[in-house]
């Protein structure tokens, strides 16, 4: 057994070896700490902390180097292989919960599944002392079952007897095939459900796994943001997303910095999962920030020297750089170029987003609403370019079914306005739109199914005003035909019919890209 004072050196030596074996993962140097909970290791924000007590305890059975190496192999495999990222973690948890229907059990099953995957990956690729460590560890019922599984799939003896049926069933799962993890965890959860129920009875679900649990602490806030983005893309409905997020609400709030632009939070505000869903979805459809445009000044000025050739005009010859000679190869002539100056400093106008949330439109909190997503993409594109966005969310406006957000740069406020759903009739009030007009004529994005009761009024309004209007509508009907006919000659109005709802973000962004390109 190595004295504690040498353990730091041993750790350094072992870490270099483990790091090289795992091909230099970007992880900081691990530390030995006093663990509050009875776990072997913890990973917080990529920092691996090994429990001194655990290492000492295991050093009675194995060489300290082997203990450290096994723990580091386990930790690094988790980082490198499973759960790979926060989005995968959420997906695995979500699949486990579908089978187990209970949050704590689902978390436990997910933790164990991830342990099996990472450990198996490690053992399949490297000569790791992990099996030796497991031979001597204290085990719960669930640990024993998992170790029985390891005996089968690794071909080692960990001293477990029994658990034949469970280990046989579990050994059939393709743990090393990432593409089938969601299917595998469902089957895994189904098989271990009985054991988890036993653990629940003995309050074992609240105890962390001996090798440490998998909380969200291990992810950086950027990883969580990225993971939420990916998970939003993979969630079929906002409901699915919300259910997951609500299960992790506290951890997400704690792990991330609550900033208005990022997570839609403010002081004292809880997480609105639906708004977060659309924010993260919209993040997947981004336009780059438009650079300040340059434009030609319209006048030529001497820019650079080029060699003069016989036959070229004489008037731009520079006698100074030509040393007073008119000789090919010596004489230099000026090449003129049109100057460039900055375009209009404030090239991007503000944007007014008109969102139809009448009964014929999808409720964005129940189903994925591409209309809301399109509006969100438009808002983000303008907000990223440091301009303001106003939102007019209408249903039966006269009956009070309307929400008007004045120009704002606050992303969360804008999203709250967009995501609101009235579900009533469809009639807007022109005075509301008028109240949002400014001296600098804003762009207008209208996203609707065109089944607006007072459509003619709207058409007249657009005809009378100079705003650039982009109307995105779903499907085709007589109202659409009316709108198209009326707007046909208006150059500043573009109408897009969307066959597939999935096209909305692309259409919206395409239009904005054109707008931004022509300004200046």
């Amino acid at each position: 057994m190595v004295e504690r004072s040498d353990r730091g050196d041993t750790l350094r030596k072992v870490w270099n070896r483990v790091r090289e074996r795992h091909l230099f993962p970007e992880l900081p140097h691990p530390v030995l700490t006093d663990s509050e909970e009875n776990v072997a290791l913890e990973i917080k924000g990529k920092r691996i902390s090994l429990s001194k007590d655990f290492v000492e305890e295991m050093s009675q059975f194995l060489a300290t180097e082997e203990v450290l190496e096994a723990l580091l192999d386990h930790a690094v495999s988790h980082y490198l292989y499973c759960p790979w990222d926060f989005s995968t973690h959420l997906k695995l948890y979500s699949e486990a919960k579908k089978v187990l229907k209970d949050r704590d059990m689902a978390q436990k099953a997910t933790d164990y599944f991830m342990d099996v995957v990472s450990d198996t990956h490690c053992v399949s690729k490297h000569d790791s002392p992990l099996p030796k460590l497991y031979q001597h560890m204290t085990r719960s019922v669930m640990d024993e079952a998992v170790h029985a599984l390891y005996q089968r799939i690794w071909g080692v003896d960990l001293g477990i007897r029994g658990y034949e049926e469970i280990s046989r069933k579990l050994s059939r799962l393709p743990y090393l095939d990432r593409s089938r993890w969601t299917e595998s965890i469902r089957k895994f959860a189904k098989v271990v459900q009985g054991l988890l129920e036993i653990e629940e009875r003995f309050d074992g679900l609240n105890k962390p796994n001996p090798m440490g649990g998998h909380s969200l602490d291990q992810y950086s806030s950027e990883e969580i943001e990225q993971g939420l983005k990916d998970f939003a893309m993979d969630s079929a409905t906002p409901v699915e997303f919300r259910e997951m997020i609500q299960d992790f609400e506290e951890e997400i709030l704690e792990a991330t910095r609550p900033k208005e632009t990022g997570m839609g939070l403010g002081p004292g505000r809880a997480l609105d999962a639906d708004i977060l869903y659309y924010m993260k979805l919209a993040d997947n459809y981004s336009l780059p920030i438009r650079k300040i445009p340059m434009k030609k000044s319209g006048s030529l000025y001497p820019h650079q020297h080029v060699p003069w050739e016989v036959g070229k005009p004489y008037q731009d010859i520079d006698p100074w750089t030509s040393f007073g000679k008119i000789l090919p190869g010596i004489t230099q002539t000026w090449k003129r170029r049109e100057g460039e100056i900055y375009g209009a400093e404030e090239g991007t106008p503000d944007c007014m987003v008109l969102v139809d949330s009448s009964g014929s439109m999808t409720n964005p909190r129940q189903q994925l609403s591409y209309a809301v997503l399109g509006a969100a993409c438009a808002c983000d594109a303008y907000l990223r370019n440091e301009v303001r966005v106003a939102v007019y969310n209408f249903s039966d406006a006269k009956a009070g079914g309307r929400q008007l957000l004045p120009y704002s740069r606050q992303r969360a406020e804008v999203y709250r306005a967009i995501c609101h759903y009235f579900g009533g009739g469809t009639k807007l009030l022109l005075e509301d739109i008028d109240s949002l007009q400014t001296d600098r004529v804003p762009d207008i994005f209208l996203i609707t199914d065109m089944q607006i009761t007072n459509l003619e009024v709207l058409i007249r309004y657009f005809n009378e005003h100079k705003n650039r209007v982009t109307a995105v509508h779903l499907g085709d009907n007589e109202h659409v035909q009316t709108f198209r006919r009326s707007m046909a000659l208006r150059k500043h109005v573009s109408i897009y019919s969307v066959e597939k709802k999935e096209d909305i973000p692309r259409i919206v962004l395409g239009r904005i890209r054109e707008y931004f390109g022509t300004v200046g």
């Binding site: 198996t120 399949s124 089968r152 799939i153 690794w154 069933k169 050994s171 059939r172 090393l176 095939d177």
Partner: protein, 231 residues
């Protein structure tokens, strides 16, 4: 031409393998064969994706299924996984309940294990014809609600349904025992020749033609004493 890979000549190319890979590969192989057998059965037996329940067709389908699985080495986990595949349809383009149940029954009847448990509770689809011709010495436990013709032609085995059964439960059974812990549907025990059916819940109706055997409801003999129909 210069060998651009020559730097890797020294690397031994034998892959490190753990038993998991072998187990998964073997399992995949068996599953491919089982699924292939089922698809062949469906193609041969089911024309235009319509399959009518006629005695001769059932017998023919069962014989074809048995022939298809004759040389396969499989176990109870494979059968359970096949049922999951049938339910999820990820690999199986069409799941037709009748032939599917007959095929599963063939697998069950010819499995090495004497006691087989199939967990059907979470499945969306309903399986019919499970337990068809279950032979003596075999115990089949079905956890969850099942469809029609459960235990049809039972041939001495013991069939337990931990849930409800559909119509024609035990139809044409020869011998053996069926236990249904919840309810049974119409025409229970139709054409049965022997054996016993025990139902702990309601029975919608008993079959009109019973050649032998007994039907019990909540422990009391229901047939052949009372053959009049609705209970």
């Amino acid at each position: 031409m210069r060998n651009p890979f020559s730097d890797f000549r020294i690397l031994p190319y034998q892959k490190r393998e753990i038993p998991l890979e072998r187990i998964v590969r073997a399992k995949e192989d068996v599953m491919d064969k089982i699924v292939g057998g089922y698809l062949r059965l469906v193609e041969d037996e089911v024309k235009d994706l319509v399959w009518l329940v006629e005695h001769s067709r059932v017998v023919k389908a069962y014989s074809a299924a048995v022939k298809g699985i004759r040389d396969l080495q499989y176990d109870v986990d494979d059968i359970e996984e096949f049922c999951a595949e049938l339910d999820s349809s990820s690999r199986i383009p069409y799941m037709i309940s009748g032939p599917a149940g007959i095929y599963v029954s063939a697998l069950v009847n010819h499995a090495q294990e004497d006691r087989i448990v199939l967990r059907l509770r979470e499945y969306q689809r309903t399986f019919h014809f499970l337990g068809y011709r279950l032979p003596e010495g075999k115990v089949l436990i079905l956890q969850g609600d099942v469809g029609d013709f459960i235990g049809a032609g039972l041939s001495g085995g013991r069939l337990v349904v931990e849930g409800s059964a559909g119509n024609w439960c035990g139809a044409g059974m020869m011998k053996g025992e069926i236990l249904v812990t919840e309810h049974a549907g119409q025409s229970t025990g139709e054409w049965m020749r022997g054996g016993e059916i025990h139902v702990d819940g309601r029975i919608r109706s008993v079959g009109k033609t019973l050649f032998g055997g007994k039907i019990y409801q909540r422990g009391k003999v229901l047939a052949p004493q009372d053959l009049s129909g609705e209970i």
